[in-house]
Amino acid sequence: EDKVVQSPLSLVVHEGDTVTLNCSYEVTNFRSLLWYKQEKKAPTFLFMLTSSGIEKKSGRLSSILDKKELFSILNITATQTGDSAVYLCAGTGGSQGNLIFGKGTKLSVKP
């Protein structure tokens, strides 16, 4: 059965801290791994990773994929209260070629 597992499920940090969110996957016919940020509404796209070892960056956020270990991390440096959200990891592939989501990591950044 295809699955995506995220850890931790929740995390509380203070502004300025650096956080690392983890995502492991077992997805047949794996094609890519996506990270989303979800606040109150729809998930918003952060990164799509298809190649191992190539870091993608966007401001204070970065992510990397390890296709050998079936693992990805999302790093957020110098966290701000606006980073508070649920971060979803999803693998594409599977028998239906769709997104398989993890349960998410709820990040709370305190002032």
Partner: protein
């Protein structure tokens, strides 16, 4: 360019009632999806469509039906609402690479 539009945003139903959640996209994407998200959980695939006239079941299809008569529209129908269907429903479309999500429909069955 509105992207993916879902209506309604909120709805309360009584057990046994039926309703249709609407989803439309203006990006000419072939792929469309319906997900549900329960509290503390990731999104689970209900139904998906790879093009007009073609639909298929996802991970949790029981209690739902879909149709895809046009590329733009992908409505989700609940025939006999049950409390277990209380959830937030997201529609998404994709050209095959990235996914675009609607803002969701929060549905409560009482």
């Amino acid at each position: 360019n509105a992207g993916v539009t879902q209506t309604p945003k909120f709805r309360i139903l009584k057990i046994g009632q039926s309703m249709t959640l609407q989803c439309t996209q203006d990006m000419n994407h072939n792929y469309m999806y319906w997900y549900r998200q329960d509290p503390g959980m990731g999104l689970k695939l209900i139904y998906y469509s790879v093009g007009a006239g073609i639909t298929d079941k996802g991970e949790v299809p029981n209690g739902y039906n879909v149709s895809r008569s046009t590329t733009e529209d992908f409505p989700l129908r609940l025939e006999l609402a049950a409390p277990s269907q209380t959830s937030v429903y997201f529609c998404a479309s994709s050209p095959g690479t990235e996914w675009h999500f609607g803002d969701g429909t929060r549905l409560s069955i009482l």
